[in-house]
């Protein structure tokens, strides 16, 4: 099962956009492997992606389900610096750590790392993020970009999990310190 999930995941574009209804490419791969999702729910993968999945799974390809979105040309996010207020909402939303910045400092999209998932656009309170179509070759090939995005996504996921574990541990220590053992009379 794990192998099948990895095989499916390796065919997904690693955009991590969540348009398929799952929280990233790997969760979608898992759902496909478990027969909980169809192969035509990934708009960034488009027809080519569906064909590759169909071949791997030995099923016939089908058109992209429009309920999940439409296939668009490759785009990346761009921040309009005049308007950025340094609120970090986009940084929190980016699944692949492609935005550089901190609270009250300028935020900048690292174009080579951006998957074009658009998840940063809606959280911006001042609407300063626009999507720009990448025309022409932009250095890295599609598989190279996908491999990079996969690595960044996984690194971020494990970092977030570790942060959550540390936070929980701290909270428990604090709680334990508050609840003092009853003095024995």
């Amino acid at each position: 099962m794990q192998l099948l999930i990895e095989q499916i995941n390796s065919l997904l574009p690693q955009t991590q956009c969540g348009q398929c209804g799952f929280k990233g490419c790997r969760p979608y791969a898992k759902a496909i492997a478990e027969n909980k999702a169809d192969i035509n729910q990934c708009p960034p993968g488009g027809g080519d992606g569906i064909a590759a999945l169909a071949e791997l799974l030995g099923v016939s390809p089908k058109p992209l389900n429009p309920a999940f979105g439409t296939h668009k040309p490759k785009q990346v996010a761009f921040i309009i610096e005049q308007d950025c207020i340094g609120c970090v909402k986009c940084i929190a939303a980016c699944p692949v750590d492609a935005i550089l910045g901190a609270a009250k400092f300028m935020h900048t999209v690292i174009a080579a790392e951006c998957t074009g998932c658009e998840l940063c656009v809606a959280p911006c309170p001042v609407d300063c993020i626009v999507m720009q179509i990448v025309d022409g070759p932009d250095g890295a090939s599609k598989p190279e970009r996908a491999a990079l995005a996969k690595r960044r996504y996984e690194a971020r996921e494990s970092r977030k999990a570790q942060e959550a574990a540390e936070k929980m541990e701290k909270a428990q220590l604090k709680k334990a310190a508050l609840i003092k053992p009853k003095p024995t009379v």
Partner: protein, 92 residues
């Protein structure tokens, strides 16, 4: 033989984003990473200047110890401070 920390040093402008991958012997600090990356000599605007730094979106100090996988980031100031930006937006 001390452990090697794989880290990255990053600086970004709208037109050009730079990520420098490095391996530093542990223990190392943010300052060590920035020195080892040579990023200040690549960008004249960063040379001989006190830098605003952070790791993965959180501002920190130059003395902060590094963990493997950290991305040490050099930040630029906002163009308008948020209050001023709000006034500008309100006036529109």
């Amino acid at each position: 033989m001390s452990e090697l920390l794989a880290i990255e040093v990053a600086y970004a402008t709208p037109g050009r984003q730079t990520l420098i991958a490095l391996e530093l012997p542990a223990p190392a600090t943010v300052a060590d990473a920035i020195r080892a990356s040579g990023i200040q000599s690549r960008f004249p605007e960063l040379a001989n200047k006190l830098l605003d730094v952070g790791i993965f979106g959180r501002a920190t100090t130059m003395a902060h110890p590094l963990k493997a996988g950290d991305r040490i980031e050099i930040y630029r100031p906002l163009i308008h401070n948020p209050k001023e930006a709000r006034r500008i937006r309100a006036a529109k």
